[in-house]
């Protein structure tokens, strides 16, 4: 029997909801509705109206983060009830809050409050300026960097997803211009995200001070299982390290590619995407190694076989 070391990985926000994403998780819907009800009570009453088939809130930047977090926490809770715990966890972008919940560093409600506060701070510092993000797929870093220079360094690599896949942040005008240039350079796929915040870029540095003060008031505990930093792939084992990570996560470039490679070095051979989508599953196909990346639904199905 092969020994499987599993990492739970958490997506940042929902960009689409596939039909019936949790068919192999009996009772999950009740669990999710319970979490959703608490979230609606404490943060935004409108959340209770969320329905997957209606693609609710996809245009609302903050609510999609809430929903991704609530789904992730519900999945964590569902798996915990079955006695299933991962060896490691990692949160992609705003998925960090679900990773903290998974490792029992924060409570469910504190995670929601942190997401809300982070959003308030980043939108405060970006103000009325028009920012955005895009994905460029099919160019490597050497291809991309000259294009970034051409935009007077106004845009930044926010996340490296694989050797040839990047998320970019910056002013909306420069993002549009970069996408056009990248297509001309031979990018196989480009996509401008429907968000207005340049996440994981230096534009958000001014949000750090206030957010740091806010985080200081939140009760963190030492993690029950290690969380891996997407900034420098450090293993985060103490609450103070995690508080710093949450703050720098806002304005520092992340590297998902290196994180997934590093987790494989640590012996992880199975990644489970704890969300309704397949973004991290699809991306993993372009990351070297023998590890498999699967949805929570497929993972649950495989446990029953």
């Amino acid at each position: 029997m092969s020994h499987k070391k599993t990492a739970f990985v958490f997506p940042p926000f929902a960009s689409d909801y596939p039909d019936d994403p949790f068919t192999y998780l009996p009772g999950f819907d009740d669990c999710f509705r319970k979490f959703l009800g608490r979230a609606a009570e404490f943060t935004d009453a409108d959340l209770i109206n969320f329905k997957i088939p209606e693609r609710t809130f996809l245009e609302d930047e903050l609510k999609t983060q809430y929903i991704a977090y609530i789904q992730a926490c519900s999945l964590v809770s569902w798996f915990k009830l079955k006695g299933i715990f991962p060896a490691y966890s990692a949160g992609y972008s705003m998925g960090i809050y679900a990773a903290l919940y998974q490792s029992e560093v924060i409570s469910f409600l504190d995670g929601l409050v942190m997401i809300r506060q982070a959003f308030r701070e980043v939108t405060r510092v970006t103000g009325k300026d028009s920012f955005g993000m895009c994905a460029i797929i099919g160019l490597n870093r050497d291809d991309l960097e000259p294009l970034i220079l051409r935009e007077d360094d106004k845009i930044e690599i926010a996340i490296q997803n694989s050797v040839c896949s990047f998320s970019i942040s910056g002013p909306a005008k420069n993002i549009r211009s970069l996408v056009e240039a990248a297509q001309g350079e031979g990018a196989l796929s480009t996509r401008i995200f429907t968000i207005t915040v340049p996440y994981h870029s230096s534009y958000l540095k001014d949000a750090a001070g206030n957010f740091d003060e806010f985080i200081a008031q939140i009760q963190f505990r030492n993690p029950r299982m290690p969380i891996v930093s997407l900034v420098d792939q450090e293993i985060l084992l103490e609450e103070e390290m995690l508080k710093k990570e949450v703050v720098r996560n806002l304005f520092t470039s992340l590297n998902w590619y290196e994180t997934q490679l590093y987790l494989q070095e640590l012996g992880v051979n199975r990644f489970v995407e704890c969300g309704s989508g397949k973004g991290l599953v699809k991306n993993a196909r372009f990351i070297e190694g023998d590890a498999i990346t699967m949805t929570a639904n497929s993972y649950s199905a495989s446990l029953n076989q």
Binding site: G138, L139, N140, C164, Q183, G186, L188, R285
Partner: protein
């Protein structure tokens, strides 16, 4: 520069059909050369990229993704049949693919 034989053509077609059947969760009998990848079976550009990687490994191809990207801008692919034709050109010409347009 590889020579495309009937066997290669058959292999490529088989890989492409099986790939989209599995990825898009559609029965293989529901796929033909005129199937529109995005509209009919909900495919996406990441799948295209993944197929390229599969063929790069299978045929040990020397080709940069951006070369394929530049070619694809001028020769956009919409159907399964067009995709198979492009994969065959990639296998045949590798990094010299863009010279086809000269």
């Amino acid at each position: 520069m590889a020579t495309i034989t009937d066997t290669t053509r058959k292999e490529v077609k088989e890989v492409v059909y099986n790939f989209f059947s599995e990825e898009c969760e559609v029965d293989i009998s529901g796929i033909n050369d005129n199937t529109n990848i995005i509209k009919d079976i909900d495919g996406d550009s990441l799948m295209f990229l993944e197929l390229i990687e599969i063929f790069k490994r299978k045929y040990n191809l020397d080709i940069e993704l951006k070369t394929i990207g530049k070619y694809a801008v001028k020769h956009p692919v919409q159907t399964i049949g067009q995709l198979i034709d492009m994969q065959l050109l990639i296998i045949e010409h590798e990094n010299k693919l863009l010279e086809l347009d000269k």
